[in-house]
């Protein structure tokens, strides 16, 4: 069963269609990367799914509950806004206990949850300090902690690491990766490296529409480049340049470029070229150190998809 099911979601602001028939299914237990350029409709989608905004059309369920501002939905989800805001006069522990109170947890349970979460997000030592004095990174970690107070089935994270420094980003992404299997994580971002690092599945949104949803490896395979890279060891054996000159004559090879001890070979037919190249390398007598199909980065896939969408 899908943890999140969205059908034809539409959101209009006057003449602007922020969401234009968005449909999506997110598998339970996955870490879903909701990827899109600024203004694509990521935050709007999350606000609708968390009950903070109303859809103009379509329907959606989260953890089996119809969206809208209702207690049943709120009990099942956790939400971290892009810039989480807190009551500055409260301490971190006090805030988490207050959130626990809003979930109807008893005093002992909410204290226990708060203490566990403070340790988990690395805020134990500052638990009694007023939030007003917290840095951006500390606020983000507290934001994640408050989103986990109710042990949610679905956790919505809106750009959780975008505004953080490298160390803060690493910590937050490690925290998110640590949630794998505990709940479904729906994470919006425009930073591709973050998605590559933690997400199983990726959905690309552009101008309010889903462009593509796939597992990360499927996506990069689907957009695989017809390029192989061979790296050899310089050991006084046959010359790499000579071998490259020979293979350039083959109809399967479109282009071959030598770069030191490596060669980048663009081919015409990936499957046939793979077998042929391996055979040719075995016969060449070159000391091959590495042979790999060059995978596109998520960034290349993303830009391809967005450009295709813009062109269509």
């Amino acid at each position: 069963m899908s943890a999140i099911h969205i059908e034809n979601l539409v959101k209009t602001y006057g003449a602007v269609r922020a969401l234009d028939g968005l449909s999506l299914d997110v598998e339970a237990g996955s870490i879903f990367g909701f990827l899109g350029p600024n203004g694509a409709g990521k935050t709007t989608t999350i606000r609708i799914l968390t009950g903070l905004a109303h859809a103009s059309g379509g329907r959606a369920t989260v953890a089996g509950v119809e969206i809208g501002h209702n207690g049943a939905l709120a009990r099942r989800i956790g939400y971290l806004p892009e810039e989480p805001a807190f009551y500055g006069w409260m301490s971190a522990q006090e805030f988490l206990e207050y959130i626990g109170q809003l979930f109807g947890l008893g005093a002992a349970t909410r204290r226990k949850h708060a203490e566990e979460l403070l340790k988990k997000v690395g805020l134990w030592d500052v638990r009694k300090r007023r939030i007003r004095g917290f840095s951006r990174g500390m606020r983000q970690r507290l934001g994640i902690a408050q989103a986990l107070v109710n042990q949610p089935e679905v956790l919505f994270l809106d750009e959780p690491a975008s505004a953080l420094d490298p160390a803060g980003r690493r910590d937050v992404l490690e925290l998110i990766a640590g949630l794998r299997g505990q709940c479904t994580v729906f994470m919006s971002t425009h930073i591709l490296a973050d998605v590559e690092r933690v997400c199983d599945t990726v959905g690309i949104i552009h101008k309010g529409r889903m462009v593509r949803v796939a597992r990360q490896e499927e996506l990069t395979s689907a957009y695989a480049l017809p390029v192989f890279r061979v790296e050899v060891t310089a050991n006084g054996g046959p010359s790499l340049t000579e071998w490259v000159e020979r293979i350039r004559q083959q109809p399967l090879i479109e282009q071959a470029q030598v770069d030191g001890n490596a060669v980048r070979i663009r081919v015409r037919d990936v499957e046939n070229a793979r077998g042929w190249l391996l055979h040719a390398l075995a016969e060449s007598g070159l000391a091959v150190e590495r042979f790999e199909a060059v995978k596109p980065s998520l960034e290349e896939v993303f830009l391809n998809l967005v450009n295709e969408e813009a062109g269509s």
Binding site: A53, P81, P84, F103
Partner: protein
């Protein structure tokens, strides 16, 4: 109900920790205490001013009614000021900063969020007027004579309701707008508008400000009553909170 109490206790802690409760109690208590003192000592103060001794002699000896008049005038003015200044950012600031979106993504109903604020302000004003009232009562009795305690209590109750009308209105305007300045401006505009409307005596007896007149009249004509003003004030308070809830439940955060 548990969620209301959770939000209510948070609001009270906020009033305490941000010193709003302390400031409101202190200012209202100070004026509660000063009112009978001012009434008592004004002729002496004026008489002590060089060259103005004659004015001091012209002023008739102050009575308990002067102390009560001074008290009700000072307290109602400051209560209204605080009734607009305290809640002006209660909702708009939370929407603007994002704390409303964060806590309302939890199972806290929007009605409980709003009512907790209204109830907390109600308690802050009740506590402030209680302390101010006791201080004013004590000094009035000490310097003049003790007025009837039940009437004194009723007078403070009327000031409380008068202030709460503006708490309700300001909460409504704070819900409507994202700016606390606009919320306060709208409340002051209503205050001014009702002041203009009260030029007509027929209308004035039904307006919230009549509660203050009624408070003063309690000690002169205890049988005089302005129930129309009381019911309209209560309806304005309830109507403002209801409208705030109806608007807030449809608002996007």
């Amino acid at each position: 109900m548990n969620l209301f109490w959770a939000a209510f206790s948070k609001e009270l802690r906020e009033q305490w920790r941000t010193y709003r409760l302390l400031v409101t109690v202190s200012v209202l208590s100070l004026f509660g205490l000063l009112s009978p003192l001012l009434a008592y000592f004004t002729p002496q103060i004026l008489g002590a001013v060089p060259g103005a001794e004659a004015i001091g002699e012209l002023i008739p000896p102050p009575t308990v009614m002067d102390a009560i008049g001074q008290y009700i005038k000072n307290l109602s003015q400051f209560a209204i000021l605080f009734a607009i200044l305290l809640p002006m950012g209660a909702v708009s600031n939370e929407k603007e900063r994002g704390t409303a979106a964060l806590v309302l993504s939890k199972p806290l109903p929007r009605g409980a969020f709003l009512m907790a604020k209204a109830a907390a302000f109600g308690l802050v004003f009740a506590l402030s007027l209680l302390i101010a009232g006791l201080a004013g009562y004590y000094y009035t009795g000490l310097l003049f004579e003790y007025p009837r305690f039940d009437l004194w209590l009723a007078m403070n109750g009327l000031i409380w309701l008068y202030a709460m009308v503006y708490v309700g209105l300001t909460l409504l305007f704070s819900t409507l707008s994202r700016s606390q300045a606009l919320a306060a401006g709208l409340s002051f505009a209503v205050l001014l508008g009702l002041g203009v409307a009260s030029i007509s005596e027929k209308v004035a007896v039904y307006l919230p400000a009549q509660l203050i007149n009624w408070g003063g009249m309690l000690f002169i004509q205890p049988e005089a009553s302005y129930w129309g003003s009381l019911w309209i004030s209560a309806a304005m308070l309830a109507g403002s909170l209801l409208a705030a809830w109806l608007i807030f439940r449809r608002q996007e955060l």
